[in-house]
């Protein structure tokens, strides 16, 4: 047996890979087996093994949430917030990278960049706390500035207004992530052939013309790759933390997303099987989105991302 012999010779390597295999089996694959719970009438008191002994009910829970009005509301909110975060976030990061690239003064560039990605390292809890403060009706800076500029008559309780929620989440996400996301674009821009710019200068092409005809085409494949990955992540882009921490009963019609819906079904209502069936659909849709976006990208840049 060649394989066994070789495995024995590499026994140290085999020993060293065992922890990750065991860990993956427990924390990644066992939960996948746990998807079974979505098809069963499961009693939370029965523990993990109870998944297997519980009575099989087929697609009962899938039918249940597909006929639940709240499901469609949360799906809409999830797609809307995810879409806004991805599209506007991508635009913002690229624009920021392009602007930075126009700056010749190195120290200025460095300082702005350092500031810009500090928020990336704050937890969403801290971000939520910061937004509670700046949006507060009680002397929050946003209301203060807007009333002074006479744009609003009296302070607005932004976080209790359903209609503002999507914008707030988008702004919060951009505040947190734009600087960080721009790093890759900045690196891609610095990789564009400088000879092209020199040639363009000889031809008298304007600054904007250079960005439009040289820089952007030069970083096209980076943009496409990151966009594909982002689309695969559409359902998770507006995460649990954001909606759970910044949403409240008054904004629920707009703030409730799939992650919170899954959580609520599980731990507030105790409907484990229902919750698992929603997670499962979420995972499946995400995979389909990723595969679809990957296919599209192969048309756009002639190479598959994954």
């Amino acid at each position: 047996m060649g394989t066994l012999k070789k495995a024995w010779r590499q026994r140290m390597l085999v020993l060293m890979i065992i922890p990750v295999i065991v860990w993956t089996a427990i924390f990644s694959y066992a939960p996948l087996a746990g998807w079974l719970v979505a098809f069963k009438e499961y009693q939370p008191s029965k523990g993990f093994a109870g998944i297997f002994s519980a009575p099989f009910v087929g697609l009962k829970f899938f039918r249940e949430f597909f006929t639940d009005k709240q499901f469609y509301q949360t799906l809409r909110n999830t797609v809307a917030m995810g879409g806004l975060v991805i599209v506007i976030g991508t635009f913002a990061a690229i624009a920021f990278a392009l602007l930075l690239n126009e700056v010749k003064c190195q120290w200025f560039k460095k300082i702005v960049q350092s500031f810009s990605y500090l928020p990336r390292f704050l937890s969403w809890v801290v971000v939520a706390s910061v937004f509670y403060l700046v949006l507060s009706t009680d002397g929050g800076i946003v209301n203060e500035i807007l009333t002074r500029l006479k744009l609003i008559k009296a302070p607005v309780a932004w976080l209790t207004q359903g209609k503002s929620f999507w914008s707030i989440i988008t702004i919060a996400d951009i505040w947190k992530n734009m600087g960080w996301n721009a790093i890759i674009y900045i690196a891609a821009i610095s990789g564009v052939d400088t000879a092209l710019y020199e040639a363009a200068e000889v031809d008298g092409i304007t600054r904007w013309g250079k960005i439009w005809h040289i820089t952007l085409p030069g970083i096209r494949s980076t943009i496409v790759i990151l966009f594909v990955l982002a689309v695969g992540n559409l359902l998770n882009a507006s995460g649990f933390d954001q909606s759970f921490l910044m949403g409240n009963p008054m904004t629920m019609a707009y703030s409730d997303n799939l992650a919170v819906y899954v959580y609520r079904n599980a731990f507030v209502m105790g409907r484990y099987s229902m919750s698992a069936s929603i997670s499962m659909i979420n995972s499946v849709i995400s995979l389909l989105l990723l595969a679809g976006a990957n296919k599209l990208s192969s048309l756009a840049i002639d190479e598959k991302v994954i």
Partner: protein
């Protein structure tokens, strides 16, 4: 007046720039300066309020600088028992979490960076799957519960022990190391663990720094595991305490109330607080560690995102 900046021969001559060019430059610098300030200001605002007298804050108008400077808000938080426990747990989980995850992730990465390893492909596939699908909240919860991690400090460590994406980044770094170094050690009779521990790990210092910092931020920012998997108050974390304060859960506030009564009846200082001053103080305390190390670690983060981008 437009003066050609470049002669036909390609020789670049410095000349006066067009007014429109200068205007564009001014606009660009102004926009970028605004972005930089907007990124920083909200945190500054929190810090200023955390350092201002709570009653004075109620009068409003504090945006740039504390009007009545005080450290009482912060010291009140640190003297509160549950928050002190939370701080200790956050530090512990970050420290232990980083050390253990670094060890195990790099070890796995080392094995799959060995091109002759017999189960290399299989191990890689096994890991790749975990990056694209996960069981979701309930199946995961049931697993974690059934392996006895509820109300167990290890729930902060074990589930974050491995990360397929980090393993991938570390592996791609190790792939770049010259084979000659490990070969030399092997000829000297070193086993694989020795090669990993004595040769590869020290050479991987830059990627260790990067990934270690990623893990530290992951650990420090986590609150959901405390929320779902612990009911034991002694296992709480700083981020989770902040969540409770944000959700207007009164537990922390009433604890502080009782502390205040104890101190006052003992004839000590008269402590004043408002829900806002408490929130700001906890926010700042849970942010300070990151802001303090930030200037030193930035360059590693950038390196990390670049390796991740190339390979990811």
């Amino acid at each position: 007046m437009a003066i050609p900046a470049i002669t036909k021969g390609g020789l670049i001559i410095k000349t006066k720039r067009k007014p429109s060019e200068i205007a564009a430059d001014v606009a660009i610098y102004a926009i970028l300066a605004t972005i930089g300030l907007l990124a920083l200001y909200p945190l500054w605002n929190v810090a200023v309020l955390a350092l201002n007298d709570p009653l004075d804050t109620l009068r409003g108008g504090i945006y740039l600088w504390p009007r009545m400077f005080t450290l009482n808000n912060l010291s009140l938080i640190l003297r509160q028992e549950q928050l002190a426990t939370a701080f200790k747990n956050s530090v512990l989980r970050t420290g232990i979490g980083v050390a253990s995850a670094l060890f195990f992730n790099t070890m796995a990465a080392y094995v799959i960076s060995r091109k002759d390893f017999i189960f290399r492909k299989a191990a890689q596939r096994l890991l790749a799957v975990t990056m694209y699908v996960n069981g979701g909240l309930i199946p995961y919860y049931l697993v974690v519960k059934s392996v006895g991690l509820r109300n167990n400090f290890l729930v902060y460590i074990l589930p974050m022990m491995f990360n397929a994406f980090y393993i991938l980044i570390i592996r791609s770094f190790m792939d770049e190391l010259p084979d000659s170094l490990t070969e030399a050690a092997r000829i000297d009779g070193a086993g694989d663990f020795t090669v990993y521990w004595k040769v590869v790990l020290p050479l991987s210092a830059p990627v260790l720094a990067t990934i270690g910092l990623f893990i530290a931020v992951d650990q420090w920012s986590q609150w959901f595991d405390s929320f779902v998997f612990t009911t034991d108050k002694s296992l709480t974390t700083l981020q989770y305490e902040l969540v409770k304060v944000l959700n207007q859960s009164t537990s922390s506030v009433s604890d502080i109330n009782s502390l205040r009564q104890r101190l006052q009846s003992g004839g000590q200082i008269n402590i004043v607080y408002t829900p806002q001053s408490i929130r700001m103080a906890i926010t700042i305390i849970s942010t300070i560690p990151i802001v303090l190390v930030y200037p030193f670690i930035q360059k590693y983060f950038i390196k990390g995102v670049m390796i991740g981008a190339v390979k990811g």
